[in-house]
Subunit: 414 residues, 2 copies
């Protein structure tokens, strides 16, 4: 048995206990974990300082340093996040359906935890607490494998949470940290069948690709968002400009930011300058097709690659289309299936778009930025699924459960 | 673009049309497909005869030959199966939930097809029609990849169904057959990301293992069943004997057949002889631990391997345990998570078992043989899922759907 298999076995044993833990026990553990994070602020910040020093030495970019950095205030925010999860409804134990068959068998479909959830993430130490809290509340043990840049911070946060679990009467191994941050350990985790029920990667496109390519355990693919806004011929142009501006610029580094703008040719001459004027306030660079470039002579020319690109930057591709169908076909070809929007006053065009566009979230007259567990009312999320198996869109607590059938008989045979 | 990618692209294009097809259109296509199978009975049987001749030449075992063989009557049964799927409720388009957020956004969660489902199966030509019908009704295009032993039969059945789709106004490519039955084509299909939304293997343990090991597309793992019956100290012994007899012997080759018997030591002296007497009617060989062998001197000695074995035969492992907890721990260690049963008159023991045993279906006083789409009232199934992601247990029509969020705004930005 390898070291990671041994850790997997410990997580699996803890999951069996957690599977039948009461809501009260789980909430008490979460409250205790939040308190422990606050109580151990000094230790966690000292550990974080080690990570930051090492990161500065390797010349980490300032945006990444900022994601890595903790502070008293940020730790308070992390602890409050854990407390908020305690307040959310318990997704486990719900009777999803119940039938009595003609032979008298009663069949109940009941929500249950998934078991052991592995989360592979990058250099953001807050993810360890967020993910652990969501997994714990949904009755799942978690195997956390964060980036090497945050190893000291993650170790300190997980250590605080583990001690709290024990005081609340749950096994510390409900939250396990993979201490080996080598590529090999990540690959082994992706293939830890028999111990890992589901693997959720949280990070950039490279991480997601590596997981999809290498994992043999079931995966929920997350996060890549090539989101479109289509401005229909019947759009309210000022509304379109506001939605595009918000979807593109309110936070460029996130997966629900818009990356591509499609405009119907009937309104392009009017809509494009209005939208561009708004985007120019944030110095957004547009990459246009021939017709867009003709209307907006100052912009860059798009290449084929631009249509599939997730810029995560103040950049956006733009194309003029001649029909709603052409817009839908373009989105079908290039969208990552995350969030796509139509701006129109025409209800039947909107209805067609919402039905035909095959993405996790499809919007009529609203910003794609709303695809988020908080905005959807889920309270919290562990990521945004862009696959169609199991769950799509924001992964809230109910999406971290499975179900089983409980069958009640009095001697039935077949 | 490889030949298989080209086929995947055709299936994907067809899936986009099928995604928004009405229930009436899909049902008309299914009725037409059933009629076409019947109308082309002569052609299909001639093709099947080619497969049978080749199989006889290679010395195929008679049980496998029987699975491969079609007849007029069997084809009528297959066509009727397709008609039954037409009668089932359409799982697509259901509003699963609807909320209005404080900012006025209306968020609808709506069931939608998965897209393109790939099904890899072995030498049973009926699977092509069954799987195609279930996928079609749930709005999914299907890529069928059957075993080389059934290629002529599958080609003839799929050809009949495809012609029917066109008369019903749907693209023939809603049902695509992978004609290349090499191992390489199966492997390529397992890695056809971008075209295949879900892969469902239908076959033996070797096929399932190969899919789990090689697939990069999302998979629903099916079918391996190491199912247990636990006879508690408070069991009704005659009922236990009937349930074990049925679970073991009513059909030994299926995944919901019981493979392992656990008996509480307090009743073992009485229960084991009673159960064994019943099993002996079918010449079942028992593989027992030391205590079981002491009570039933004629049986074989079990080795460690027996506890994890799916015999699919008139064979069963048997172990004496000292407590409900020991039974639960044994099942946790060796069960494949398919179906496990407790026989007891003690409601609190049953409740504990149903909660603590982490399998797709958990039974109190009924045979494990009921884990089946028909018995569960789903009308039909495409397999039995033994994983916890997406769906567990019998995969009926609702399990062949995903969902999307339709978000209705009037200009909301974040």
């Amino acid at each position: 048995m390898t070291k990671l298999e041994a850790l997997g076995a410990r997580a699996k044993a803890a999951a069996r206990v957690l599977m039948t833990a009461t809501t009260e026990t789980k909430n008490a553990a979460l409250e205790a974990a939040a308190a422990a994070i606050e109580a151990q602020t000094a230790e966690i910040l000292a550990a974080n300082e080690k990570d930051l020093a090492a990161a500065r030495e390797t010349g980490m970019a300032s945006a990444m340093l900022d994601r890595l950095a903790l502070s008293e205030e940020r730790l308070k925010g992390i602890a409050d996040g854990v407390r908020e999860v305690a307040q959310l409804p318990d997704p486990v134990g719900a009777v999803l359906s119940e039938t009595v068959r003609p032979n008298g068998l009663k069949i109940q479909k009941v929500s249950v935890p998934l078991g052991v959830i592995a989360v592979i993430f990058e250099a953001r130490p807050n993810v360890s607490a967020d993910a652990a809290a969501l997994c714990l509340k949904s009755g799942n043990a978690v195997l956390l494998r964060g980036g090497k840049e945050a190893i000291h911070s993650n170790t300190a946060i997980v250590s605080a949470m583990r001690s709290a679990l024990e005081t609340a009467g749950l096994p510390a191994d409900c939250i396990c940290l993979v201490e080996d941050t080598s590529r090999e350990s990540a690959r082994e985790l992706m293939r830890l069948n028999g111990y890992v029920d589901v693997l959720i990667p949280r990070g950039g496109a490279g991480l997601i690709r590596s997981v999809v390519e290498n994992a043999t355990v079931p995966v929920i693919e997350t996060g890549v968002g090539n989101c479109h806004v289509y401005v229909d011929k019947d759009a309210d142009i000022p509304m379109a400009a506001e939605i595009v501006y918000n979807a593109k610029t309110s936070r460029v580094s996130v997966c629900n930011a818009a990356e591509s703008l499609l405009v119907h040719s009937a309104v392009a001459e009017k809509a494009l300058p209005a939208i561009y004027a708004r985007l120019a306030e944030k110095q957004v660079t547009l990459y246009g097709d021939e017709r867009a470039c003709a209307i907006l002579p100052g912009i860059e020319k798009a290449t084929e690659d631009d249509w599939g690109r997730e810029y995560l930057d103040y950049k956006m591709s733009v194309k003029v289309v001649d029909s709603l169908d052409e817009a839908i076909a373009h989105i079908a070809r290039y969208s990552s299936g995350h969030s796509d929007c139509i701006v129109t006053e025409n209800a039947s065009a909107a209805g067609l778009f919402l039905n035909a566009v095959d993405s996790a979230a499809v919007y009529w007259n609203a910003s794609t930025r709303f695809t988020d567990g908080g905005c959807f009312g889920f309270g919290a999320e562990i990521g945004i699924s862009t696959q169609k198996l199991h769950a799509r869109g924001p992964l809230g607590l109910p999406q971290l459960t499975s179900f089983k059938y409980k069958v009640y008989g009095d001697g039935q045979v077949r």
